[in-house]
Amino acid sequence: MSRVSYSCTMQEGQVADDVRAKLADGLRQVTADVLGEAPDDVPVDFSDIPTGFGFRGGEPSTTSLVRGSIVGGVTQDVREDLMRRICDMWMEISGCTVDELVVSARDT
């Protein structure tokens, strides 16, 4: 059982199913690289916000949110390394811009 899990929320129609599988693999690989977790043990789930139900800055949103939970916590340096690598991976695979992604890594 991994001490890290991810919940990813995306705007409906923004990220195709085959891309999600690559993003999940990417999250697991980044987590393995940064935290040493076994990739296959890292849970990743995806959910969609239906069109017309998500807003950012008062306008319809195209932003994806990646929420990581880390049991036991990590240092801030490690957290920032993890979040930055997730950002880079997510933008490369999904094609989104840096302004269309929010990443968090919470201690639990």
Binding site: I49, R56, G57, E59, R84, C87, V98, S104
Partner: protein, 134 residues
């Protein structure tokens, strides 16, 4: 952050009202805190089951603001929601929970603590709005 999730009964709040609530929440949050507009997220989550109240505001903000400001912010947000949707006070409840700013990266930058925002942070917001055509 901030992230405001409005939990509402299915098919109860039409798109025009959702958009108006989103704009109002953005105006209120930025007016109260000085945060950049592009950092304000508002989502609507429809449900079939009844919670303690049929309508619920679940907000998440950066920690570190004064209690008075937080209470006023929640009050103003809930007032706006009720005014726009016509939902009564006894049908609507809400809360704002907080977490360390340093746990979130947005726009490629770790969020600053409230009161420690730099000019670069606001400049990034302006660039984001320009890129979005806003």
């Amino acid at each position: 952050m901030p992230y405001y999730r409005c939990v509402v009964p299915r098919d109860s709040v039409p798109y025009d009202q959702r958009a108006e609530v989103a704009r109002a929440f953005t105006d209120i949050h930025c007016g109260s805190t000085g945060a950049p507009r592009s950092f304000v997220h508002v989502v609507f989550d429809e449900h079939d089951d009844r919670w303690d109240t049929p309508y619920f505001l679940d907000g998440g903000n950066r920690a570190g603001r004064p209690e008075e400001l937080k209470a006023q912010l929640l009050n103003d947000l809930m007032s706006a929601f009720r005014e726009i949707t016509g939902v009564s006070s006894d049908e609507f409840s809400g809360r704002i929970t907080e977490g360390p700013a340093s746990w979130t990266m947005e726009g490629g930058m770790v969020l600053p603590e409230p009161g420690e925002e730099t000019a670069e942070w606001y400049e990034h917001d302006l660039q984001s709005q320009a890129a979005a055509g806003g």
